[in-house]
């Protein structure tokens, strides 16, 4: 966890992230034991919502660019033990290029956090 702290409540974190991304196309660029595709699907099941359309995290290159173009939300942040390694440079450049802005941050410890980025409103509207 990056700290000598108790494990955080993963149910609550998954619910909060799900409340932001809803069932919209979401790129899970940060996944680990705490927050991952399964926790999101389970949170949707528990709350009776539609499961989010999760895009698999491509590591780098054109695939990442393509995923960023399709995603309405991007779940990113710092983790010490990611399940999928994502090229952070390319992700950062892609987020800036697409003008995605952070709309939610959850601090777990000094070395771990979750940030959800959202596409600009105009972009979101044009995708409806």
């Amino acid at each position: 966890m990056g700290c000598e702290c108790d494990p955080p409540n993963s149910d609550r974190l998954a619910r909060r992230v799900l409340a932001v991304v809803s069932d919209k196309p979401t790129l899970l660029a940060r996944d680990d034991a705490l927050l991952n595709a399964e926790s999101q699907r389970f949170a949707a099941l528990r709350s009776g919502r539609l499961a989010p359309q999760l895009l698999a995290p491509p590591s780098q290159g054109p695939a990442l660019k393509d995923a960023l173009t399709r995603a309405r939300y991007v779940v990113a942040g710092r983790t010490l033990a990611p399940y999928h390694a994502v090229d952070g440079w390319a992700l950062l450049a892609g987020l800036a290029k697409r003008r995605l802005r952070p709309v939610f941050t959850y601090r777990i410890s000094q070395a771990k956090d979750v940030t959800v980025y959202a596409a600009p409103r105009s972009d979101r509207r044009s995708r409806r």
Binding site: N36, E38, A85
Partner: protein, 417 residues
């Protein structure tokens, strides 16, 4: 009822009670934190789907098995009635309860076969069944603990069958093997290790070959009867998953030589168990094995346990997929041997080596008691098991940090737990 049987039953009851209490303590710690792992969530969804399918009849259940073909069905199917009430993995962990009791009873049988009796048997079985490296996995809705319990149960049933001479115990042995094959997709590997050890044992026995052949047939029949329905329905995707996630190109595998794989397996297993505990268990297991080999009565059971563990670890070392709790069945057997080493009465030999052995045992008792006292703190194992140490893939902390700095400069909603 003989005195020995009554005393063994009492020992099994004590071991079950202690293991049950320890399990409830670990479970309470888990419920207090509300932390669930990726596997917890996946299997909870699976149990939820199975519960829905069960309401629509067996055909729907088979369809659900197929839909989750990559995951073994035993534990989620057992948990399905609970999932119908609430699919939370925290509640579904209660489905581990029968396996906790099974492990405690099986440890008693194995330790009795090694020659322990009375209070020593009860204490050793209780210590083995509630050992933190095992129980920590029982606090998750995960398949590692049931696989370990069933592996130990299969060996215990084999001991009870007196070399497959008893038909009832042979059927139980087959049942345990069959359940093991549907408890985890990697279960057939453990079953293979058990069968290799038992085959070796059978080849070195003499006489009663008709009885033993009959027992073997009964064991095979019950194993096939139990394992076939699921493997027939979903075996294709399970095998595909085993080969791709175990040996193909996947995020969990990498190129490595055979020796390197064996080293990685050992390293990962000790990391999962905790280095100090792993060293103590390994040293004690070696001591227990050495002591058991000196005695005619305990030689066979000890060899069976050691060969099963060794075959399982060798099989696991063929893949670079570290997995979660893959080595737990081998650890469970090592813990039994370790408990035997600590609890066995001292050899009746005078001299310095015996005194040295007593000193080592006293030290091991202290370490064991220390780790037992730390049971409520075994959330550390939970964290390890939950993948915070899953460092198979490489992180990019620098880039994440940059992204974070960029994020911090923007206006956003902040929530802190």
């Amino acid at each position: 009822m003989g005195t020995t049987t009554r005393s063994s039953r009492r020992a099994a009851a004590i071991a079950c009670a202690v293991a049950l209490v320890a399990f409830l303590v670990v479970l309470a710690a888990r419920w207090q934190h509300g932390f669930a792992n990726v596997d917890d969530y996946l299997y909870a969804r699976q149990a939820h789907e199975f519960a829905r399918a069960l309401a629509n009849g067996p055909a729907a259940l088979v369809e659900a098995w197929r839909a989750f073909g990559q995951n073994a069905p035993l534990v989620p199917t057992l948990a399905a009635p609970l999932a119908a009430i609430d699919p939370s993995p925290h509640l579904l962990t209660l489905a581990q309860l029968p396996f906790v009791l099974l492990l405690a009873a099986s440890c008693t049988v194995l330790l009795r076969a090694l020659g322990l009796a009375g209070a020593r048997l009860a204490l050793a079985a209780a210590a083995a069944a509630s050992a933190p490296p095992l129980l920590a996995w029982a606090a998750m809705f995960h398949f590692a603990f049931p696989s370990a319990a069933l592996t130990v149960a299969a060996l215990a049933a084999y001991m009870l069958s007196r070399g497959l001479r008893s038909l009832v115990a042979s059927a139980l042995f087959g049942l345990a093997i069959g359940l093991l094959c549907v408890a985890r997709v990697i279960g057939p590997l453990y079953a293979g290790a058990l069968i290799a050890a038992v085959a070796g044992d059978q080849l070195t026995r003499h006489g009663d070959w008709r009885e033993r052949l009959r027992g073997a047939l009964v064991a095979c029949s019950s194993a096939v009867l139990v394992a076939t329905p699921w493997w027939a329905a979903a075996g294709g995707s399970a095998l595909r998953y085993l080969t791709t996630a175990g040996y193909g190109e996947s995020p969990f595998t990498h190129e490595a030589g055979l020796l390197e794989r064996a080293r990685e397996r050992f390293d990962w297993t000790t990391t999962e168990t905790g280095w100090l505990v792993a060293c103590v268990v390994l040293a004690l297991a070696a001591l227990g094995l050495a002591r058991a080999l000196r005695n005619d009565r305990s030689r066979r059971p000890a060899l069976l346990m050691a060969i099963t563990a060794l075959c399982a670890m060798t099989g696991l070392a063929t893949s670079t997929n570290a997995g979660t709790g893959f080595a737990l069945p081998a650890i469970a057997l090592a813990v039994c041997l370790a408990a035997f080493a600590v609890a066995a009465p001292p050899a009746r030999r005078s001299g310095r080596p015996a005194a040295g052995l007593r000193g080592l045992r006293a030290l091991c008792w202290r370490v064991s008691l220390t780790s037992a006292a730390g049971l409520p703190c075994s959330m550390r194992y939970l964290r390890q098991a939950s993948g915070s140490d899953r460092s198979g893939s490489s992180a990019h902390p620098d880039s994440s940090r940059r992204a974070q700095r960029w994020a911090a400069s923007a206006t956003h909603l902040t929530a802190t737990d």
